[in-house]
Amino acid sequence: MASAIQLRSAVSVAGRFPVLAGVDLDLDAGRVCVVLGSNGAGKTSLLKLLAGLAPLSEGSASILGYALPSDARPLRRQVGLLGHDVGLYDELQPEENLRFALRAARVDPARAPGALERTGITGRLASTPLGSLSAGQRRRVGLALLVARRPRLWLLDEPHASLDAETRSLVGELVEEAAAGGAAVVATSHEPELAVPMADHVATMAGGVVVDLVTGGRPRIDGVPDVA
C-alpha cells in the first residue's frame, strides 16, 4: 500500500516555541490514525503540519509524495481539514459555501447537493445562512465539504466534538468510506471511546512528540481494527 505520511524527527516552531518537537509518524493510504493527547500536546499542530499550513523547521516530511516545506502549495489541494471552526462564510448558505469551495479547488460544484444530503443538511437547513446554524450543523457542512472534495488526506480535529449521537455515527461511516476509497485519515480526539474504534493506528502525543504508537494490522475492509 502506498505511503501517505512519512514524518521523521519533524519539528515545527511557532514564534520561538516548538509546537512539534521531533515527531516520527508513518501512515499508508487507506488507513486511519487517531491521535490522542491532552490539551497542548501538539495534536492540532500536527494536523496543520500535515496540511502544509505550519512550517517544518527541522526534520523531514513527505505527505502524499509531496516534500515539505517546498511542495506545501500543491499538497494543500489534496488535503481536507475539518477544524473546530469550519472556515466557511457565515453570510452564505451551505450550498453556496460548498459551490465556492469546490470551484476554488477545481472540483465539480455539482457534487455539493449530494454531499449536503449525505450529511443531513437538507430542506430548510440548506437554504439557511451558515452563521444561523448550530455548531453541530456547521460541522456537518464542513463534513459535507470533505465528502464533496474527496481529498486524498482527511485531517479531522476532534471530529466528534459538538455533534449529536446520530452525527457522531455519521463521522465514523464517512471515515470508513474515505479509507475504503484509498484516502488516509488522521483524526485527533479527546474521546478515545469514540475515536479508537475507527483507527488502524493510535498515536499518543505529549509535549509535541509521539510518545506511544499502537499499530493495528487488519485491513479496513474487514471492519473493526484490532487496536482497541
Binding site: K48, A51, L53, R73, P74, R76, R77, V79, G80, L81, G83, H84, D85, V86, G87, L88, Y89, E91, L92, E96, F100, A101, R103, A104, A105, R106, P129
Partner: protein, 221 residues
Amino acid sequence: MWRDAMLVAERDLRIEMRSKVALWQVVPFAILVLLLFAFALGPGPALLKESAPGLFWLALLFSSVLAAQRSLAIEGSDATRESTRLMGLDPAGIFLGKTLALTGELIALEIVLMAGVILLFHVVVGTWWLLVASLLVAALGLSAVSVLYGSLAGGARMRATLLPVLVLPILAPVLIAGARCFASAMANGPGLGGRWLSVLCVFAAVYLVLGIVLYGPMEES
C-alpha cells in the same frame, strides 16, 4: 489567476449583498463625515465650494478604510484564511479578486459622496471626464493598498487598529492628486488635472503590481 480573481470577487460581492454592511454602516458614515465638515465650515457657500475637493477626498479616504476593514474581515478568522489556502486559490487571484470587489464598493460610495458634495457644498463640475476618470482610478488604487496592507496587518484583532495607521499615510498621494483633479474638474478646463490623473494611474499600477507579487508571500508568512 483571473479565474480565481473573478471567483473571489463574486464571493465578496455576494457576501456584501447579504450583509449590507457597506450600505448600512459605511455609506451613513461617509454622509455623516460630509455633514460634519459642512457644519464645521459654516453656511458660507464660497468657503464650502472652495473646500469641497479636499473634504470630499478626506471623507472618501476615511470611509474607504471602513469598507476595507469589512472586506478584509471576510477572511478575518485564522480558520477561514487556512480554509482559503487549502482550496488552492492563486494568491495573486485572491488579491485581485478582493481588490476588484472593494473597487466596486468604493465606486458606489464615490457616487453617493459626489451627490452629497453637489448638494451640500454647491459644487458645479465642468470637466466630468476628468472627475470620473480620477474617481475610477483612485478607487482601484485605494483598494489595492487596503487589501495589500490588510494582509500585512494580519489577524482581525490587530487589523482593526493597525490598518488605518498603516494605510492613511500611504494614501497621502491619492488625497493630494485626487483633490487636485477634483479642483481642476470644477474649473472650466482640465488645466493640470491630467498630470494629477497620471499620478493616480501610476499609484494604482504600482500597488496592483506589488500586490500581485507580494500577497502570496505575505499570506504564507
